[in-house]
């Protein structure tokens, strides 16, 4: 790719007008007693000033740099005798004079920056900060976390564990109160969905309800963590990070077989492979001494990105592109940084130079990988370097791979060149404009790279990454796990822990969790258990008027969040509650029902994936994680529910609520078939409509219906039954949906009426929400 544009791209962070106030805090106009650089000043400086007076050495207007005190407090180069900041004396500080000025030729930010002027509150913060001495602080996220002491709280009895101390302290400060505990049914549904992505069955609910105390709840949580569905649930998030797909992407978009790596991810989570090893294997499993096949397989992580098979491309352009992608996936997914901004120039906000970027890039630049292996006519299931696994090997030593064939299995993995490929800084990020040579090194602003003790290759990078001193890795992962459970991270911008990222809502909690996580062997299951056993998590999701008014985003957790299930779980819930789910783990991805013509309309006609060949039988009823992802036309029902399109590393999904989702819930054959089969199964066991409706309700929503709900549903069923009996509605047509065999003996009118009633239950808002 030619890069000048991308270069330009990052030169500018454009303009501010609209989004500038996306990150407002709910606090009043009151100034803090002590103004903090990290929490009050730096966010404004970064947003409004760093673009021209920040770390990018090529763009420090008037020689002024405001991100480090040595330069910010020095005499101005272009205004004799003046200082941008005079600690203690706001009125003598040029910075203050300029941010309050009305003169377009003098004021800051300049009008043509489109960044907008500072608000009165922001100016007041600057004044107070300067008055208090203008003390700079190191960026919080680049300082290694320390385990803070537990804060004083109003109600120690409420705290089940450390998490609750930090949350309660926040609530106390904000003048809010915690909520009552959720009732056991809601709690168990929430926990089961968070840990396994599947709802609890009525039998499990019943047994829990017999004695829903602390011990029983803890035992349930352990059971959930030990079920194999846990790995599947956790893997969904990691597949987003790792941009996993089943095709090569780009225009022709042929099939690839990378799913064995996906099976490994599920396995690794289920085995509770410590997170430091989980990361090490994926970054450098092939470089570990005596690397096992499994460790090499793990490096597929770095090879999941797109590969072009468009005839006529320039190979080096794409080889570079692939490494840019690897660099981005590592830095965003593992370190929570937007390092890619330094691809074309020094980072505008964070202390990463362009050289730093290419030093990081250099770790990935020595792979035995080609930019182009040929067009789609010579397409293979994996690209160099390839791990070839024989069927025997899989069956004997890598049993977690669900492989039924007898031939060998190919996976794209990492492997180094024998002679080191040189890495250069690329002028403006363009592949054919190398400038100075650089050697591999990690980001010095985050943590120094000890070249004496660790090698300058991916293994060294992995060691640097999972070092106890690394300030980011544990925080970023703990934050992602928290986000997947609560719907929002402690740092809301889970992909940006840099200067422009949001500040943590509970910085001490984040640090406590991160340190505790490292102290206990990077144990992800333990972390989840801690969160689930906290009283914070166990609160009811009922929202009080006060909370809605004073903390509409629920930043302080005065109640449990109500979060819509992720796309895969929507599917899983429908399949499991209706009894259709085939809970086989892993294997080649499957092609369930999909509206006709989608692949066909977009394809050039080339390659194996030109037409959608829907699967049959069991393959129609696998969990959402196994749905085939063709990058150019990702599965529509997943995309409608905000799944990642897997084009690039994503650490966070959007949460939307659209009429297209409503249409999918109403008309997707999956939901209709599930309703029909569920009705069929219920009727085979019991003919009593009221009992069947209640059982369906309880199975889907994980709670018993209220009398009002019973009444509404009962009435609906009777009306429907009547319409079917009288021939106003066509029962035979209604039940004719899906490939699961019908029950020829069933009374069609009864079955159709129950099916419609169940379909109504599936469409209830609560059905696909954790609450």
């Amino acid at each position: 790719m030619n890069k000048p544009l991308i270069v330009l791209a990052s030169i500018a962070a454009g303009v501010a007008v609209l989004a500038a106030c996306m990150q407002k805090q709910p606090d009043a106009d009151r100034l803090p007693d002590q103004v903090s650089y990290n929490f009050h000043i730096r966010p404004i400086l970064s947003d409004k000033c760093f673009k021209c007076h920040g770390p990018d050495v090529n763009h420090q207007e008037a020689g002024l740099r405001l991100d480090i005190p040595e330069r910010a407090l020095a005499a101005l180069r272009e205004t004799k005798g003046a200082f941008a900041i005079v600690p203690g004396f706001p009125d003598s500080s040029e910075l203050i004079r300029r941010i309050v000025s009305d003169d377009p030729g003098y004021q800051m930010p300049t009008p043509d920056s489109h960044l907008g002027q500072l608000s009165e509150k922001e100016v007041a913060l600057f004044r107070k900060w300067i008055k208090q001495g203008a003390k700079y602080e190191r960026h919080w996220a680049f300082t290694a976390p320390k385990k803070p002491a537990l804060p004083e709280v109003s109600d120690k009895k409420w705290a089940k564990n450390e998490i609750d101390y930090f949350i309660l302290a926040g609530l106390d400060q904000a003048g809010l109160e915690h909520n009552d505990a959720a009732d056991p049914e809601h709690l168990l549904k929430r926990a089961a969905l968070d840990v396994t992505g599947l709802p609890p069955t009525p039998a499990v609910l019943d047994s829990f309800l017999q004695q829903p105390d602390d011990a029983a709840y803890a035992a349930r949580v352990d059971q959930l963590l030990n079920s194999t569905a846990f790995g599947e649930k956790m893997a969904v998030h990691w597949l987003d990070v790792a941009r996993y797909s089943d095709s090569y992407g780009y225009q022709d978009d042929n099939i690839r077989t990378q799913w064995a790596w996906r099976d490994w991810v599920i396995h690794a989570f289920n085995e509770n492979l410590p997170y430091d090893q989980f990361v090490t294997w994926q970054l450098a499993g092939d470089l570990l001494p005596g690397a096992s096949r499994e460790q090499i397989l793990a490096t597929g992580f770095l090879r999941n990105h797109k590969y072009t098979e468009e005839g006529g491309v320039i190979p080096e352009e794409y080889r570079i592109e692939y490494n840019l992608d690897k660099t981005k996936t590592y830095s965003k997914g593992v370190l929570g940084l937007t390092v890619e901004c330094a691809q074309c120039h020094d980072h505008k906000y964070d202390p990463f130079s362009q050289k730093d970027y290419y030093r990081l890039f250099a770790f990935f630049n020595n792979a035995k990988e080609l930019g182009f292996e040929g067009d789609i006519t010579s397409s293979k299931p994996a690209k160099m370097p390839v791990l070839k696994l024989t069927a025997d090997e899989v069956h004997n030593t890598l049993q977690f791979i669900n492989y039924k064939d007898t031939g060998s299995l190919m996976v794209s993995v990492m492997g180094e060149n024998d002679t080191l490929r040189k890495t250069f800084v690329l002028n403006r990020g363009v592949y054919d404009q190398p400038t100075v040579q650089v050697l591999p090194a990690a980001l010095p602003a985050v943590m120094s790279y000890d070249t004496v003790n660790i090698p300058r290759n991916r293994l060294g990078l992995a060691q640097w990454t999972v070092s106890r001193q690394n300030p980011l890795t544990a925080r970023v992962w703990v934050n992602q796990v928290w986000q997947e459970i609560f719907g929002r991270g402690i740092v809301k911008t889970s992909g940006d822990f840099g200067m422009q990222g949001d500040l943590p809502s509970h910085p001490e909690l984040l640090d406590w969790l991160a340190v505790d996580f490292m102290e206990h062997g990077w144990d992800t299951k333990r972390l989840i258990r801690q969160i689930l056993l906290s009283n914070t998590y166990r609160q009811s999701a009922r929202v009080s008027k006060k909370a809605l008014q004073e903390d509409p985003e629920n930043i302080y957790y005065s109640h449990a969040p109500r979060v819509r299930l992720q796309a895969e779980s929507v599917r899983d819930l429908i399949l499991s509650t209706s009894g259709l789910l085939v809970s086989e783990i892993g294997g080649p991805s499957v092609k369930p029902y999909q509206p006709k013509g989608l692949w066909e309309a977009a394809t050039s006609g080339r390659g194996e994936l030109a037409t959608y060949q829907q699967d049959k039988g069991d393959k129609l009823y696998r969990r959402g994680i196994y749905t085939f992802i063709k990058l150019t036309v990702p599965p529509p029902s997943m995309i409608l529910f905000d799944a990642s399109n897997r084009d690039q590393c994503e650490v966070k999904r959007l949460q939307t609520n659209t009429p297209l989702q409503a249409l999918a819930m109403l008309n997707d054959p999956l939901v209709l078939e599930a309703s029909r089969v569920f009705a069929q199964k219920l009727l085979a066991g019991n003919k009593d409509a009221t009992a069947n409706i209640s059982l369906a309700f309880r199975t889907i929503l994980c709670r018993a219906p209220s009398s009002k709900e019973k009444e509404i549903l009962g009435k609906y069923f009777e009306q429907q039954l009547d319409a079917f009996r009288k021939g106003k509605l066509d029962a035979a047509k209604t039940v004719a949906v899906g490939e699961y065999p019908p029950d020829p003996t069933a009374d069609k009118a009864q079955q159709a009426a129950l099916m419609k009633t169940i379909n109504l239950i599936y469409n209830m808002e609560e059905a696909i929400v954790k609450s």
Binding site: I314, D432, T493, G501, A602, L654, Q655, N763
Partner: protein, 483 residues
């Protein structure tokens, strides 16, 4: 003018509504696909919004006829007799100036110039050149602003197409239509603001991919919604066979009752929003089939677009559908038509492509005009790059191929406040631009300007950076805008 200003400010209100989505408003209609026309209420962004552009929009809606695969400007618009005079001679290095080539022709020892096989003539008051392949387009010459000096950086389809649609060659950035939906919302309560229609010609095709109409980091309400004429115009729109519309209404009433029960219990505004989404879905079920049903169009219209327009999925049908969607207030209708990638057998293939597209493209412009909509609807026709003046493969008088060429190509625009005429000029070899170059970013800046948006101020902050469609470049081409 005053009315336009007022409308523009209503749009700003919509945008304000949008920018607050996902922030403080929490559940209130969070992520409605159908963006309300006007959102009132107090807002802290007032001060900032005062800085927004104060100019009135020229166009309200866009229909973009994307000719995917890159049509040959040298066989359609950019008449170069020199190429016929020097037929078969090598392209001088002084003209090529080291331009990088794709892997398909970089190994060629010679670059023989290929004059077009087709005859050209001038049309209309502007005197624009058209080849014989475009009789219908030539017939509306005086409506067209023909830009012969477009250029791009990408030399392969995927990055070039992605660049045209999202302003970046790689990445997952919002598409043009998504930006406009974000900036201006939808004019219609029952339809999305951004619709996508796909078709294929018989020529060498290059696929399309949903990333081209992605919302990127914008809220997914701004994602392009794929439409088609025919039986199932929108995903999951049709009720299952056994479920008639009246029955659906009954079900939705019961559903609302059940959801309201739960709202009484949890007080989460998301529950209310969900009820609204089901109502909108229901309205779409009525509104969309009415619009996508082309069978009721009068004879005169069918004649205008050509008989193909009654066959679902053809380019002609999509042009007609585009007009209907646009007329109903869809902000941005994006068509893609495959088959222009003429590496070989170009004269034959391009003839077929033009037969499929020429009449309907021109009909769309004429149809909008006769409805009084052309002034407020911007129609754009063009591909992702141009094609080389030299031959790829074997050169014959009546048969040749052309490789990708990023340095110059032709697109046209009509209506929506653009000035008819011919803009920009290439050298006599048709290889380099000699006058008024228009970069893809300039094109985007100009289109946004026509819609009343300042491309430097339509931004969205994502992971610390303020993104815009034009990245960090782009100048509005004022010369082609009506005053």
């Amino acid at each position: 003018m005053e009315k336009e200003q007022l409308e523009f400010h209503m749009n700003i209100n919509r945008r304000r509504f949008l920018t607050t989505l996902g922030v403080g408003l929490g559940g209130v209609a969070l992520g409605s696909l159908l963006v309300p026309d006007l959102f009132s209420g107090k807002d802290q962004q007032e001060a900032l919004l005062q800085k927004l552009p104060q100019f009135a929009p020229k166009a309200k809606r866009i229909i973009y006829l994307f000719q995917n695969g890159a049509p040959s400007q040298l066989d359609l618009f950019d008449y170069k007799p020199l190429l016929s005079e020097r037929f078969g001679q090598d392209l001088p290095a002084s003209i090529r100036m080291g331009q990088r080539l794709t892997g398909m022709t970089s190994d060629q020892k010679k670059f023989p110039l290929a004059g077009s096989y087709f005859n050209f003539s001038q049309h209309g008051q502007t005197g624009a050149w058209f080849s014989e392949l475009l009789p219908h387009t030539a017939g509306i010459a005086d409506e067209l602003c023909v830009i012969r000096s477009m250029y791009t950086e990408a030399i392969n389809h995927d990055p070039a197409l992605t660049f045209f649609q999202t302003g970046a060659q790689v990445g997952n950035r919002p598409s043009m239509g998504a930006w406009l939906s974000y900036g201006l919302g939808s004019e219609n309560q029952n339809l999305p603001g951004f619709c996508v229609l796909l078709s294929k010609g018989k020529g060498n095709g290059q696929g399309v991919y949903s990333k081209l109409w992605t919302n990127g980091f914008l809220d997914s309400v701004h994602q392009g919604v794929q439409f088609s004429s025919g039986e199932n115009p929108v995903l999951y729109l049709n009720n299952h066979e056994g479920i008639p519309g009246t029955d659906r209404r009954e079900m939705l009433d019961k559903l609302a009752e059940l959801n309201n029960e739960n709202y009484a219990n949890f007080a989460d505004p998301e529950i209310k929003a969900k009820v609204q989404q089901y109502e909108m879905a229901f309205r779409m079920q009525t509104a969309v089939p009415e619009i996508t049903d082309l069978s009721k169009e009068p004879e005169s219209i069918v004649k205008m677009y050509g008989a193909d327009c009654l066959t679902p999925g053809t380019y002609a049908a999509n042009c007609l559908l585009a007009r209907k969607l646009s007329e109903s207030g869809v902000r941005f209708v994006q068509l893609y038509h495959q088959g222009w990638d003429g590496h070989g057998n170009l004269p034959n293939e391009i003839r077929g492509q033009c037969q499929d597209t020429d009449q309907a493209s021109a009909a769309l412009v004429k149809d909008l005009k006769q409805r009084g909509l052309l002034d407020e609807t911007l129609v754009i026709w063009g591909g992702e790059f141009g094609r080389t003046n030299y031959c790829q493969g074997l050169l014959k008088k009546d048969n040749y191929g052309r490789d990708h060429h990023p340095r110059c190509f032709t697109i046209w625009m009509a209506g929506g406040g653009v000035k008819p005429g011919v803009y920009g000029e290439t050298d006599e070899f048709g290889y380099n631009i000699v006058k008024n170059p228009v970069h893809v970013h300039d094109f985007h800046a100009t289109v946004l300007h026509l819609m009343g948006l300042n491309h430097e101020e339509l931004t969205f902050k994502h992971l610390g950076r303020r993104y815009r469609l034009t990245d960090v470049a782009g100048n509005v081409v004022k010369d082609i805008i009506k005053t």
